[in-house]
C-alpha cells in the first residue's frame, strides 16, 4: 500500500516541460495552458461525454474560494489541479478537490482596481514552476511541489494604476504577461520573463514613443504632445502562440482617455489592435488595428484563435478574432493581412468593413455631452472570456452580449492612480440586455446557429470532440449544447453567477468538466 501511495505521489509532482505543452493534444486528459493549447482553441479532444450521455453529468466535487466572482481557468497536470484567485493560488487533489498547498500574497492597502474587479483568470505552468500574476503587478514563480516562492519579479508600479488579472502565457523558457489599467492612463506593454530566473527578457510597449514606428498616429506637438504617455493600450487577456514561427499574438486594449478622444487625434496605434511579436525579442512583426481612434472602450483584448484553412484554393495560416466592436475578423497570421470580416452582433457605429478591414464609421456615433446611443455597449459584443474553436465542426463558438448604451463624453483630467476615462455610459431604459452563444463559420463569421441567453453572459466557451459546447450564465447555470445544432442538452443551477472559462480533463481515465461559479469551482463527471 505504501508503495502505491509513493507511486501516486511521484506521478503528481512530475514536471511540465515545454514539449508537453507544445504537444498538448497528445495528452488530452491534462489542461496545460490557459486555452488548452497554444492556438487559443479552448477545445478538448476528449470525447467520452457526448450528446447522448451528457444528461448524466453530476458534481464530483467542489472547491470554495475565499473571494467571490472567481474567473480562474485551472491548469490540470499529473493528478493535480492548479487554481488562482486574487493574489492567491492553490494546488488541489484532482480526486477530491482538497488542497495540497495554498499560497497567498497580501494585497497592499493602497492598491486600487481602477475599472475592474479583484480577480485573477488563472495560472501558467512550465517545468517545475507555477506562474501567477498579481493585482499589485508582480509575476510570481511558485514551486510546483510545495507552493513556495521561487522568484518574484516586479512588473510595474501598481500605484499609478498598473495591475495584472490575466493568466500568464508560458512558452519555451519564457513567461509572458500583460497589464490592466486602461482606465488609469497607463502606457501598456507585453513583458517576457526568463522562466528559470525571473529576469525580464523583453518589453513591447503598446504605445510607441515619439520617433518609433506608429508614433505618427499620436499628436507630438502642441498641448497634447504628451498624450502618448497616458495612451492606455492595456494587455489584460492572455495571448496565443505559434510555435512554428515563434510568434506571439496578443490583443491590445483601448486608448486613454476612453470616451473623450479630443486629446489624441489620430489612429492611436497600437490600441485596439492585434500584434504579432517575436517570442525571443518582442519585436513587432505586424499589427492589425480593429478600431482606429476608439472612443467606446472597445479593447481588443481577446484570445486570438489560430487555425489553418484554404482561402481561394490556397492553404493559409490564419487567426480569427471575435472583437468587442461587434465584428468578426479573419487575418493572415503571417502578415496581418485582412482576409474576411463581418458583424456577428448588433452594432450601430459602422457601415461595415472596407476591403482592408477598416471600419467605415458612421457620423454622430462618438460619445457626447448629452449622450449618444450606440450598440454595443462598453463591454462590447464579447469581452475577455474565451471563445472556442472546434477543428471537428470548423465552427467558432462565442458568447455574445447584445446591449446598447448611452455614451457620455466628459472632461478628462489625468492624475496618477485615478480614473482617466473622460466620460462613461448609462443603460438605455427599458431595453433588452440579452446574450447568446453563437456558432460562426470560422473562415467567414457567418452564423450557423445560436442559443439565446436571457442575460448577457460573462462566461467563456469550451467545445469538445464529443460534440458538445459548455458555458455558463449570469443567473447561475452551467450548461451543455449540441456543438452541431445548438440544442440545449444539460444544465446545472450552481447558485451563483458563472463568470469564468470552462475546461475539460480526465480523472482516472474518465472525462470531467470544470468551471467556477462565483466563489465555487465545480468539477462535473458522468
Amino acid at each position: 500500500m505504501k508503495c502505491i501511495a509513493w507511486l501516486l505521489c511521484a506521478v503528481a509532482w512530475a514536471q511540465v516541460p515545454y514539449d508537453r505543452i507544445l504537444n498538448a493534444a497528445k495528452e488530452p486528459g491534462s489542461w496545460l495552458t490557459y486555452s488548452g493549447n497554444y492556438q487559443g482553441h479552448r477545445f478538448s479532444p476528449l470525447n467520452q461525454v457526448t450528446p447522448s450521455n451528457v444528461a448524466g453529468l453530476h458534481v464530483k466535487w467542489a472547491y470554495q474560494f475565499d473571494s467571490p466572482r472567481t474567473e480562474t481557468s485551472p491548469i490540470v497536470a499529473d493528478g493535480v489541479m492548479y487554481v488562482t484567485g486574487p493574489n492567491m493560488a492553490a494546488a488541489l487533489d484532482l480526486h477530491t478537490g482538497r488542497e495540497l498547498w495554498k499560497w497567498s500574497r497580501p494585497i497592499p492597502k493602497d492598491y486600487q482596481s481602477i475599472g475592474y474587479g479583484h480577480v485573477n483568470r488563472g495560472p501558467a505552468i512550465l517545468d517545475d514552476k507555477l506562474f501567477v500574476a498579481t493585482l499589485d503587478c508582480y509575476l510570481i514563480a511558485l514551486d510546483l511541489k510545495s507552493g513556495a516562492e521561487r522568484w518574484s519579479a516586479r512588473v510595474e508600479d501598481y500605484k499609478p494604476g498598473y495591475s495584472m488579472t490575466l493568466a500568464p502565457l508560458a512558452i519555451k523558457g519564457k513567461v509572458l504577461v500583460g497589464v490592466s489599467g486602461g482606465e488609469a492612463g497607463i502606457r501598456g506593454f507585453v513583458d517576457a520573463y526568463e522562466a528559470a530566473s525571473g529576469k525580464r527578457s523583453w518589453r513591447f510597449y503598446t504605445i510607441p514613443a515619439p520617433g518609433e514606428p506608429g508614433s505618427e498616429t499620436w499628436p507630438h506637438d502642441g498641448k497634447y504632445k504628451d498624450s502618448w504617455r497616458t495612451g492606455g493600450g492595456s494587455t489584460w487577456v492572455t495571448g496565443s502562440y505559434d510555435p512554428d514561427t515563434n510568434l506571439v499574438y496578443w490583443g491590445i486594449g483601448n486608448p486613454g482617455p476612453d470616451w473623450n478622444p479630443d486629446s489624441r487625434p489620430g489612429d492611436n496605434l497600437y490600441t485596439c489592435s492585434l500584434v504579432a511579436l517575436d517570442g525571443d525579442t518582442g519585436a513587432l512583426k505586424w499589427h492589425f488595428q480593429f478600431t482606429p481612434h476608439d472612443s467606446h472602450d472597445w479593447d481588443s483584448t481577446h484570445v486570438p484563435v489560430l487555425y489553418e484553412a484554404e482561402v481561394r484554393g490556397v492553404k493559409r495560416k490564419l487567426v480569427a478574432v471575435a472583437n468587442r466592436n461587434a465584428f468578426y475578423y479573419v487575418l493572415d497570421r503571417s502578415t496581418g493581412e485582412f482576409v474576411a470580416g463581418r458583424a456577428y452582433s448588433k452594432q450601430t457605429w459602422a457601415k461595415g468593413l472596407d476591403d482592408r478591414g477598416r471600419p467605415m464609421v458612421l457620423p454622430n456615433t462618438e460619445p457626447s455631452a448629452e449622450g449618444t446611443i450606440v450598440w454595443p455597449n462598453l463591454n462590447g459584443a464579447t469581452v475577455w472570456f474565451s471563445p472556442s474553436y472546434s477543428p471537428v465542426t470548423s465552427l467558432f463558438y462565442v458568447s455574445v452580449r447584445e446591449i446598447g448604451s448611452i455614451y457620455y463624453k466628459r472632461e478628462a483630467d489625468y492624475k496618477p492612480g485615478t480614473f482617466f476615462a473622460g466620460g462613461g455610459e448609462a443603460p438605455i431604459p427599458n431595453t433588452e440586455r440579452t446574450g447568446a452563444i453563437r456558432a460562426l463559420e470560422v473562415s467567414t463569421g457567418k452564423q450557423r446557429w445560436e442559443f439565446p441567453l436571457h442575460s448577457a453572459s460573462w462566461s467563456g466557451v469550451l467545445s469538445t470532440a464529443g460534440g458538445l459546447v459548455f458555458s455558463g450564465t449570469n443567473d447561475g447555470y452551467v450548461f451543455a449544447l449540441d456543438a452541431g445544432s445548438g440544442k440545449p442538452l444539460w444544465n446545472f443551477q450552481s447558485g451563483g453567477p458563472v463568470l469564468s472559462n470552462p475546461i475539460s480533463f480526465s480523472l482516472d481515465g474518465k472525462q470531467c468538466i470544470a468551471i467556477a461559479s462565483d466563489r465555487v469551482l465545480y468539477v462535473f463527471g458522468l
Binding site: G115, E183, D258, W259, A369, E370, G371, Y408, R410, E411, D413, K415, T418, F419, F420, A421, G423, G424, E425, A426, P427, P429, N430, P452, L453, H454, S455, T473, D475, G476, Y477, F479, P488, N491
Partner: protein, 242 residues
Amino acid sequence: MPKWVLLLTLAMTASAQVPDAATGKKIFESQCALCHGQTGTGGRGPSLNRSKLAHAPDDEALAKVIAQGIPPEMPGSWQLNPREVLSLILYVRSLGAIPSEKLPGDPVRGEQVYQSKGCAGCHIINGKGEGFGPELSAIGARRNGAHLRQVILHPAAALPEDFVYVAAVTEAGTVRGIRVNEDSFTIQIKDSLGRFHSLVKSELKDLKKLRGETPMPSFEGALSAAELDDLVAYLASLKGKS
C-alpha cells in the same frame, strides 16, 4: 462637511480642479434627469429636492450611491472621476432648496378612493391587499405626484423598469401574470391571485412577452378630478417605514 469630502476637496483644490455645482448640474441633466426629473423633483425615480435622502444620509453615502447605483432600477456611474462625483454631490445637495411638491388632494379621502375603486385587489399596502400589482407601501418615497397621476391615467405609458406581463402556454393551459424572475432555462410568474408559477421554458408551447401591456386598467374617466387628486395625494403620502 464630512472629513472625507474635505480631504478630497483639498486634494482637488491643490490640483486646481475644484468641483463645482455647475459641472454637477450638467452631469445631472444628461444622466440623472431622465428618472429624477430635470430639476430633481422626481418622476420615474424619487424626488431629490429634500433635506434628507433615504439612501444617502451623508456625502460619503451619496458618493457610493452615485458610483454603484441601487439595483435593479438605478444604474451606477462608476466612470465619473472624483471631481465629477463631488460636483454632482454639490448639485444634488443644492436641490434641497427647491420647495417640495404641493399636491391639491386630500390623502384621507384618497385612501377611501383607493378602497372603493378596488385597487387593493391587485396591490398591497402595509400588508393589506393581494394580487400581482407592485407593492405600494413606500410608493410615495419613490415616485412623485405627476408620475403617479400619469400611471393612474395611462398605466401602459409608465411601466417600471424590467416590468413584463407574460402569457406562458403550457399543456394544461395559459398562465398569465407578471414576470417575477427569468433565466435562460426557467421563468417564475405571479398570477392575478398572487400565486407563483415556476415553469421550464423548454416545456412550454409558447411564451409571450406582452411588452408595453399591463393588466392595470386606465382610470381615465373612471375618477372625478377631485377623486384623482385625492388618490394621488394618498399614494404620495405613503413613505414606508418611518
